[in-house]
């Protein structure tokens, strides 16, 4: 019996990368199931799956004592390959595809201003809260500020400026809380904040960013508004990745 178990574990360990597709696939299926049945679609499957990922990372860290979450456990090592910076950046880049420059021109100036103010305000709020929680080094404060932009900008920034893995995980958690908050809170306040026109949707996408958060939120407010918000939000992570580890990090470094 143990010989058979050895074969199974051996296959999974040897083909860790392939194993990671199976694992993330099963995780996504379970997350979608829970999203649909238990939460009745109020929290999208992707957010639930990312939340599960963070739980698995916690379990992995608790068992192995390592700093790479579930991928520090032998048979799950491939998850670390799938989630490493190479594929992460490659897929982020691909998300820009389909955003049309002509559409961006049509949205005009206001969307761009909203985008810049959205990134700046998110970064500032995140950074201020990081300082309030006792972080004083520029790398940590910037990474958490960047995490408040999106859960992708946080780790990209953290990796670029050499932040601690713990802080990077915190920035992912902050971005995830943000994404889920967008999805949960937007439908409640949509009318109050005037989120009823394409113009407002563009501003919304620029200010809150987070493609998954924005598109999910707008879908539950008014399906027609989705492309306007999602299109500008598509640039949010990219511009955030451009600004956070460079200009904003320098300014933070200057102040602290």
């Amino acid at each position: 019996m143990s010989a058979i178990l050895d074969i199974v574990v051996g296959i999974f360990t040897k083909n860790g990368f392939v194993m990671s597709f199976l694992m993330i696939g099963i995780l996504s299926y379970l997350a979608t199931l829970i999203s649909d049945k238990l939460l009745r679609g109020r929290i999208p499957g992707s957010a639930v799956a990312i939340f599960f990922g963070l739980i698995l990372a916690y379990i992995g860290g608790a068992i192995s004592g390592g700093d790479k979450g579930i991928s520090d456990i032998g048979i799950f090592a491939g998850v670390g390959v799938l989630g490493a910076s190479t594929l992460r950046d490659f897929t982020i880049i691909a998300t820009a595809y389909g955003a049309k420059l002509s559409e961006i021109k049509k949205c005009g100036f206001l969307g761009v201003i909203a985008l810049l103010i959205g990134i700046l305000s998110s970064y500032i709020v995140g950074a201020l809260i990081a300082v309030a929680f006792g972080y004083t080094d520029a790398a940590s404060v910037s990474t958490i500020g960047a995490g408040a932009v999106t859960f992708v900008v946080g780790p990209v920034t953290g990796a670029a400026i050499g932040a601690d893995s713990t802080v990077i995980a915190l920035s992912v958690a902050t971005g995830l809380v943000k994404s889920v908050s967008i999805m949960l809170l937007t439908p409640l306040v949509a009318k109050k904040i005037g989120l009823t026109t394409p113009q407002a949707a563009i501003v919304f996408g620029g200010l809150v960013g987070s493609v998954s958060g924005t598109s999910t939120a707008l879908a539950s407010v008014d399906k027609k508004l989705v492309p306007y918000g999602a299109m500008i939000a598509t640039f949010y992570t990219g511009v955030g990745c451009l600004l956070c580890p460079s200009v904003l990090y320098f300014l933070t470094n200057l102040i602290l």
Binding site: A49, L110, A160, L185, G194, Q199, V208, C241
Partner: protein
């Protein structure tokens, strides 16, 4: 031959070009790492796919390759989340919660401010004309 590789190759080409400019910025700023390479890459990809001379030379099937990686974004993010050091971060759990929610609330407060400056959208104009 399946043409999706052209799209993936374009993605890879843009990634290297973007990474080059990111590293160049890193060199210029003295940080000696890739600064904003992903952002540069996205701009290059958009420029490439929106430039008729380049876009018209890409065979139709090639966009499938880009769409595949676009769709892999969330799974990769899940894997990324699963390989973070959450165990150590959990002591800062309140920070994530407070920062994550505050940022969204501040964004919500800014939307009405923007709407004041916004020119009337076509829909609003239409409904007013209909009323008149």
């Amino acid at each position: 031959m399946n043409l999706m590789i052209y799209g993936v190759a374009l993605l890879a080409g843009c990634a290297f070009l973007g990474s080059f400019f990111g590293n160049l910025l890193g060199l210029l700023t003295g940080l000696n790492s890739d600064i904003g390479g992903v952002g540069f890459t996205m701009i290059f990809l958009l420029l490439a796919t929106n430039t008729p001379q380049i876009a018209s030379r890409l065979p139709k099937g090639s966009s499938e390759g880009i769409h595949f990686w676009k769709a892999m974004f969330i799974p990769v993010v899940i894997a990324m989340a699963a390989s973070q050091n959450v165990y150590k971060a959990i002591s800062g759990g309140w920070l994530a919660l407070v920062a994550g929610v505050s940022v969204v609330l501040v964004s919500f407060l800014l939307i009405p401010v923007f709407n004041k400056f916004a020119p009337k959208s076509a829909e609003q104009v239409d409904s007013k004309e209909a009323e008149a």
